[in-house]
């Protein structure tokens, strides 16, 4: 544990930029940090698209190979860092290994930051993350007012930070302040739900009327999918000079449309059920963890207020 004074933050950023193509938060998403210190906000889009781009050239027919440098993500919230970790598991530890993801994610570095002020739409604690969850980070920052406490979470993080000079040892006062901030933030996230229970209840809810009721309101757009830190379904297309992969969403009818014209999930009901089952039942079955990190983006942005938290509580009541 070390301390970085706020005035030294630009130095840390510049220093990280010597080793990594460094991205930081902006209002709309993570973007390369140019010449200013990023404002540590939570962007509308999670960082998944940095390692798993919405539009990604897999290979080109003209022989040109897209190349990239190691990416550093600065100012990643605990939910988003965990989201990347879940994606990493799916892309590299399941039956198949996705080289495109693996190359990008594993050559990168993730610098997380705790959430001193969780929002009412945050429910990361349901998934064992919490406002100061460090899982999935290499380095972790806590804002204690006059500076940040920096903690190395992984060996990669330790190696990196041990050669950065301007760090101070934290005082007892700093640590006490950190404990207060953490306690205050954690106290704001109450009334959790156990994802294991959700998984079990969903086992019995395939034919539940819940899906039809939700489908009445759902617009069947992909807003929730595309803003989700863990949704990862994609399509592959051939373009003029390249084969590309692009994000896809189970809420689109085209997602399961077969060449014959048959669609096994013709109704919004079927597609919504797929989304929920995949996240909270199938993924749990495979990895003992749900495909949700409680970031609240789908809750905040859904145009018709389909609130996932409400749905989860309903599932617990009905199952």
């Amino acid at each position: 544990m070390r301390k970085l004074l706020k005035k030294d933050l630009p130095r840390l950023i510049e220093w990280l930029k010597t080793s990594y193509l460094l991205y930081g938060p902006t209002e709309y998403g993570f973007a390369p940090i140019a010449d200013h210190t990023p404002e540590l906000i939570t962007p509308i889009r999670p960082p998944k698209g940095i390692f798993f781009p919405q539009y990604q050239v897999l290979f080109r027919y003209d022989g040109k190979v897209p190349k990239s440098k190691g990416i550093g993500l600065f100012g990643v919230r605990p939910c988003d860092a965990k989201g990347l970790l879940i994606l990493n598991r799916i892309f590299t530890q399941g039956p198949y290994r996705d080289n495109y993801w693996q190359d990008q994610y594993q050559s990168g570095i993730i610098i997380g930051i705790g959430c001193n002020q969780p929002q009412p739409t945050c429910f990361c604690h349901w998934f064992g993350i919490g406002p100061f969850g460090k899982e999935g980070c290499d380095l972790f920052l806590t804002d204690i007012g006059d500076g940040f406490l920096i903690e190395a979470v992984s060996k990669k993080g330790e190696d990196l930070i041990s050669s950065f000079d301007p760090l101070l040892p934290p005082t007892d006062q700093d640590l006490k302040r950190r404990d207060e901030i953490v306690a205050r933030a954690e106290a704001q996230l109450k009334d959790g739900i156990d994802p294991k229970l959700i998984k079990e209840r969903l086992d019995n809810l395939w034919e539940s009327p819940i899906w039809g009721e939700l489908a009445e309101r759902c617009l069947s757009c992909a807003l929730c999918t595309y803003l989700c830190p863990t949704c990862h379904c994609f399509d592959i297309q051939d373009e003029e000079k390249a084969r590309v992969r692009i994000w896809d969403s189970c809420l689109f009818p085209l997602f399961t449309q077969e060449a014959s014209g048959h669609n096994p999930r013709p109704e919004i009901r079927d597609r919504l059920r797929q989304r929920i089952m995949h996240k909270f039942n199938y993924l749990y079955l495979q990895y003992k963890e749900a495909g949700c990190v409680g970031c609240g983006r789908c809750v905040i942005f859904c145009p018709v207020n389909l609130d996932l938290r409400e749905l989860m509580r309903r599932i617990l009541d009905e199952g």
């Binding site: 069947s220 992909a222 689109f252 207020n305």
Partner: protein
């Protein structure tokens, strides 16, 4: 509340068998579409958070046992219904239109822009001002800063047709500069216009929340979803996203009632109605037509008149 007692009465008299309306959402300043029978009347609300255009749900909801589907209609919901009738998408006798005057709806994107990360837990309207409050802050803003851009230039707060009305219908509002946003962009040099469109539409994530909340995007298979042939790329390359938005604007020209649902639904805060407003002006100037006002009038894209402007034929 007059709304609830009137709706309960409609159920009791058998005028409607089901209702599409608004209920309270789970977030501060949010409402949600609800689908109720008589038992759900106490969930009904109507205030400045009820922005979602409900008309589109009529295409999914059919009368049950011969009983009409009631629908709460602001001006733009009602105009969308009229447009559906002219497009042959609805039977007038299946629908029971419950008119209500619209105070103008807030745009969640504009609220987010103003409160910047702080959480609104309450709001209050005082005439032309709206006070937002939350943990440790209070922000009083003129309503123009928070309302949907479409609502600020809306001429028709009440639906042109209805079966019953809650409160009293508001007259048409005279708006002088409803195409101001379009004119501002048009006055820029081409390079600046292009920069502007790049920065707006470059943010598009192709989630189609705009399309799917639009009352007039009801095609069985949208042109972007066609696969044989596939007309253009499905990724987020700028040319592809811009083609999507331009073609959608063309396809809704002479039909769009500027309800602003697309713009409020966009998570990336793209000013989508700029394109639709531009097309609305075009149709108005060339064909003297405003969509969603009359069931009798044939929409210009479905009609031919000898005096149609056709200077492109030389």
């Amino acid at each position: 509340m007059e709304l609830r007692s009137r709706i309960r009465e409609l159920f009791q008299k058998g005028e409607i068998g089901s209702l599409i309306g608004y209920g309270r959402g789970t977030l501060p300043l949010s409402a949600r579409p609800i689908f109720i029978t008589e038992g759900g009347v106490d969930q009904l609300i109507f205030d400045i958070t009820c922005g979602v255009n409900l008309a589109k749900y009529l295409l999914r909801k059919k009368p049950i046992a011969g009983q009409k589907v009631g629908i709460i209609c602001k001006g733009c919901d009602g105009r969308a219904i009229i447009q559906y009738l002219t497009e042959g998408q609805l039977n007038r006798e299946d629908v029971y239109i419950i008119g209500i005057s619209c105070p103008g709806m807030i745009d969640p994107n504009r609220v987010r822009e103003k409160v910047r990360g702080r959480v609104v837990t309450n709001y209050q309207m005082n005439g032309e001002e709206i006070t937002l409050s939350g943990d440790g802050f209070q922000l009083t803003l003129p309503r123009e800063d928070l309302l949907s851009r479409s609502c600020l230039r809306c001429r028709y707060p009440s639906p042109p047709i209805y079966d019953t009305f809650i409160g009293s219908p508001k007259d048409r509002v005279e708006i002088q500069d409803e195409y101001r946003s379009v004119a501002e962009i048009e006055s820029l040099p081409a390079a600046e216009r292009w920069n502007y469109f790049q920065s707006e539409f470059g943010r598009c994530i192709r989630c189609y929340a705009c399309r799917n909340s639009c009352p007039f995007c009801y095609c069985d298979v949208c042109f972007v979803d066609q696969t044989n042939p596939q007309w253009f790329g499905k990724g987020v390359e700028l040319t592809d996203t811009i083609i999507f938005h331009l073609v959608r604007a063309l396809h809704t020209a002479g039909r769009c009632v500027d309800c602003g649902s697309c713009e409020r639904a966009c998570p990336m805060g793209i000013k989508l109605t700029l394109l639709s407003k531009r097309m609305e002006r075009e149709v108005r100037e060339r064909f003297d037509y405003i969509p969603g006002l009359s069931v009798e009038e044939t929409p210009p894209m479905a009609a031919y008149r000898e005096d149609d402007p056709q200077e492109f034929i030389q």
